[in-house]
């Protein structure tokens, strides 16, 4: 399976390492070997190597050095040309999120599908803003569009629902989807100020420099949109997700008001009600009986409301670039298995 990537940062590096580490298992268990035929990044240019380099070469030699002959590729603004020119089975869209419109990732994915490439992305933007259109295009072309790693770092959600919850109707969900907010609230409940807590979140790599999107619920709203549109057939835009009483000031106020025995968390919830789907993000003072109250600040969780298995909760222990990379591997294996089915 030949991979081309747009965007190559922490996740891309973790993916190259994981594919190298798991090469034997992927080959023996799934008859799968991977090669990289090209990469394009916004800041460092790109390369195309039609004959491909191995994950091991990519992982150990770093980017863009290496032994295989490559063409240098012009930087930025040439994504569509790169996608068309780079021979690949799968395009990995690993650029960072543009939270306002999901671009240019939507264009990258569209170009890849037109060029006959399957697509795997961990970029929330295109799935939150254009899932139904992109999925329709992929279906029309007989190609796969997969995005396990867009919500909770590669935790099996979309793959699990698709393969292990057949004929199941999902009527809602509830969860903790933003680590930064919940890590900060955790430290605040231990007596830290919001500023100190934010600094700590940045230090351990949970938070980016700009945490507005986290604290204001925008990150959670984007994830809720993806879950609602993919799992419940909704047609929400991120702006449709109600963000209720969020932000730094609200966090301070609610923490001061918090009653003994309660835990303050940023909670996402979604319900299908009389044909329409409503979703919101808010601060909740969780009771001790609530399992979500007992997760540490960095832990995410998702409860799916189903008509077959009741409320099904999944809680990953770890989250980070390695887990995001793992979700991409799960998507790649899933594509390979569907290809086997077709041929």
């Amino acid at each position: 399976m030949r991979l081309a990537t747009i965007g190559f940062g922490n996740v891309g590096r973790a993916l190259a390492i994981l594919l190298a580490q798991k090469a034997d298992e992927l080959k023996s268990r799934y008859q799968l070997t991977f090669s990289w035929t090209g990469a394009l990044t916004r800041t460092a240019g790109g390369w195309v190597a039609p004959q491909g380099i191995t994950a091991l070469e990519f992982a150990s030699e770093g980017w863009p050095a290496g032994a295989a002959p490559r063409q240098s590729w012009p930087i930025r603004g040439h994504a569509a040309e790169f996608i068309t020119a780079c021979p690949a089975d799968v395009l990995l869209e690993l650029t960072t999120l543009d939270p306002v419109a999901g671009q240019p990732a939507i264009d990258h994915i569209r170009a890849a599908l037109w060029a006959g490439r399957h697509v795997v992305t961990c970029n929330k933007g295109p799935i939150a803003y254009a899932y139904h259109q992109l999925q329709a295009l992929a279906a029309e072309k007989g190609l796969a569009l997969r995005f396990e790693s867009t919500v909770i770092d590669g935790t099996p959600i979309f793959n699990m629902v698709e393969s292990s919850l057949p004929a199941t109707k999902i009527s809602g969900f509830r969860g903790l989807l933003n680590s930064t907010s919940n890590y900060v609230l955790d430290l605040m409940s231990a007596g830290e100020t919001l500023e100190v807590a934010l600094e700590a979140a940045r230090r351990i790599g949970v938070a980016e420099a700009d945490t507005g999107s986290d604290l204001e619920g925008w990150d959670a709203a984007v994830k809720a949109t993806i879950l609602a549109n993919v799992l419940m057939g909704a047609t929400l835009r991120p702006a449709d997700v109600e963000r209720l009483g969020l932000g730094a000031e609200a966090m301070r106020r609610e923490m001061n008001r918090l009653r003994r025995g309660r835990t303050l968390k940023q909670v996402v919830e979604c319900i299908a009600d009389a044909g329409s789907v409503r979703a919101w993000v808010r601060l909740e003072a969780l009771r001790a009986e609530d399992v979500l109250a007992h997760l540490s600040g960095t832990q995410s969780a998702l409860t799916l409301r189903t008509d077959t298995m009741g409320d099904l909760t999944i809680i990953p222990g770890a989250g980070g670039p390695e887990q995001t990379a793992f979700g991409i591997v799960a998507d790649l294996v899933s594509i390979a298995q569907k290809l086997d089915q077709v041929h």
Copy 2:
């Protein structure tokens, strides 16, 4: 897909109803229709109808009445003949557990595989006592042996690991696998006596008449054996699972000793250590930080230790014959999808 069943009780009835309810979805989404070609039960005899009756007929008319022509089948002791004579794609092994040796279910499954039938079972016995042999026979015959509903009532565990955790090594697990014990402990912590709690567990249908297997950890040991052998490649027998300080007397004693803020649960744990796998069941006084401490008595939970996603926890909300039946449907869909792959 033609189904024959050995054993037809609460789970069989729930399965017939679920297949009838989900018939449209199973047909449109998976191109799957089901018919029942026969049933054999220990107490009520059996029938074979080569042309099959629909799930709707089976669910609405009950067993063994119905319009389709059927042969009456001799009761008990004719399982192998029934399996061979009844034309079917899948044999459902739904008899109740014999905890000592897994028989006669192992013989049923072996006969079905020799007769060229795929097998789906919710019976813990054969998987706990003979997983590796039965799986090897199934593989040799090119047939599927599936058993999602043997552990936590149809919660996606085996299907999830198989389809959504590729190339993942599972090095251990921990969880709550016996509802009766944990429901009883829940009521005891609220001040009830063990006897009253047991009676309540029977009344709500969590416990059977004989609760020795639950309180003594035998039920949990059987499930731990299945998880260890299937997910970790171990070769445990249920007797190899250490059952430490269990039973009614131990429950009373530990409850009296329990410190404030702790919760007493029957916990199962398994670790792979230097090539060998060790598993045990015991009463644990869980700290408040432990998510398992905050589950209600009837809730099960399983945490898988993985090398790709860290500790992954799954908690189903509901458990009962409907969920067990759902796990069987998930297994049937999975078999159908693999068949598509082959043809």
